[in-house]
Symmetry: C2
Subunit: 314 residues, 2 copies
């Protein structure tokens, strides 16, 4: 079996296993948290009725009541009637939670209520966070050629740019496309779907999400009576995964550019790692002279650049 | 000036500039958000008085009131009297917010209320997140020798272990020390300081924080009347920075071990990057034979390992 074929099978296996891991996580979170949520929901409704039935409302009774309401709200349980229909721990929401956990976004609009849920969150993230990094790295590794090396090599051949200018020019174009495709366009879509979000709110959401900060003040699909809620949540998950992949790709392209421009040497930081032969395969298909050019552009003065490709065979 | 000396001056400069960046961010966030918070706080108090003064409380009026209370609570403004004294946007809290933003932890227990605050958050994180990564990488780069290469080399010399066993043994010890020093001990401290936190809650907080998930269901120093609140918040920030550094160090040590055991080659992922000559300096001080040993242990069968150190001079 050729190395390229094996590599794609491996990647597909990774992604399928990753999806299975998310589904399993969703199932467990839903099973653990749903009964606790139902209990807390009915408790809070009883509390509300008791509060409404009392003869006089004074400051102390109101504050006691509000304290419990705010406590329940912290766990994502609202006392308002229009939001009591949807659960935070149905399958789609649990899947969304599992996804925000392993990607380290962690909005925190819903958090585990039970000790079992908290312990499982630790265990799940302990495996899930490195696994997500592995899947993202594997995907980016395979995208580096068509998105970075290929276009840079083309810039040099067609426009006749020198390696440094070609890399900088390519990075500027890549950044522009990413800002448009992963920030501006999604922000337009979100601000249309979510009634209460302005365009700034939506851009702020996209940015806070794709940096994995995940403040959680804006979370899609949380308004009461959201149409196609499950489908919407899953689409946001896909956006999140693709967005994180592209952010990582931009970061690697930037790292490579910083290497070429001597910034990493100046700051004495680790260099962007050489890629395996796998990445070079499409260049070989395009013609052997491209490969030498790409290698030359990658490390113009590096005597080790040829030999280091062999290290994958050790 | 020697390269080692220059390197330490550079690192000190980085850290000082980083602290200045955090202080500046805190100042701006506090200036922008404080007036908005005060306005919302007084609005919610007026609302509470109006609610208490009405003759009869029915379900509709209660729900309208609760909707506004929950909305304010989303922005970290509580209607409860004991929590109204402390601000979410005093200098220490703003500094803490700025820190959780640039480290991508993002608890979201306080979020910007104004459009100016949201726009500034984007701008601040846009520069701050890569800057934090740069500072962490620079610190880890300088810690890799005393924490990783040095002890591995010592294991090989003193106990006579082979490179693979020495690396695995060192990683196991490192992991144990990190779990004790950055999870168990801090969890004991947090569960003592925070009255409502169990030991599991505290471990869960440490884990969710150092993975940068930051759900925000547990945030230290948020209880009303917290003693030495500012000092406590700053201590948590130091814990966060050191913790992230050590997590990154563990990740690099793991990456290196995975390289040696052929895992990165198997999954066709980028190899752990070679370190600059800077890292090797303490080895040179210890004796030149150690250096060769360390290099041999790093890449036992890699013909490029010697030449690749020269790449920092290009």
């Amino acid at each position: 079996m050729s190395s390229g074929y094996k590599s794609w099978i491996l990647l597909t296996g990774f992604i399928l296993f990753y999806v299975a891991y998310l589904l399993l996580g969703a199932l467990v979170f839903s099973t653990i948290e749903r009964p606790v949520e139902d209990k807390l929901k009915s408790d809070i409704q009883v509390l509300k009725e008791e509060f409404l039935n009392q003869s006089c409302v004074n400051a102390t009774s109101l504050e006691n009541f509000l304290e419990k309401v705010l406590q329940a709200n912290k766990y994502g349980i609202s006392i308002l009637p229009n939001s009591s229909a949807s659960s935070n721990w149905d399958f789609a929401s649990s899947l969304f939670f599992a996804n925000t956990l392993v990607t380290t976004v962690g909005y925190g609009h819903t958090t585990p209520l039970s000790d079992t849920g908290k312990a499982f969150s630790i265990f799940y993230a302990l495996l899930g966070v490195p696994f997500t990094m592995l899947v993202l790295t594997a995907c980016v590794q395979r995208l580096m050629h068509p998105v970075t090396y290929g276009p840079i090599s083309m810039c040099r051949q067609r426009i006749g740019l020198d390696p440094l200018t070609a890399t900088a020019f390519h990075f500027a174009i890549l950044l522009l496309l990413v800002v448009l495709g992963f920030f501006v366009v999604p922000a337009v879509v979100f601000s249309h779907i979510e009634d209460t979000w302005s365009f700034l709110d939506a851009i702020y959401f996209c940015f806070i999400t794709l940096c994995t900060i995940g403040l959680g003040d804006y979370v899609p699909g949380e308004k009461p009576g959201q149409k196609f809620r499950s489908l919407y949540k899953i689409s946001v998950m896909v956006y999140l995964f693709l967005g994180l992949m592209i952010m990582y790709l931009v970061l690697r392209a930037f790292h490579r550019m910083a290497d070429l421009h001597g910034l990493t040497s100046f700051f004495q930081l680790p260099h962007c790692d050489e890629d395996t032969e796998e990445d070079k395969e499409p260049i070989i298909e395009a013609g052997p002279e491209d490969q030498h050019e790409a290698e030359a552009s990658a490390k113009p003065l590096d005597p080790a650049s040829q030999t280091s490709y062999n290290t994958i065979n050790r």
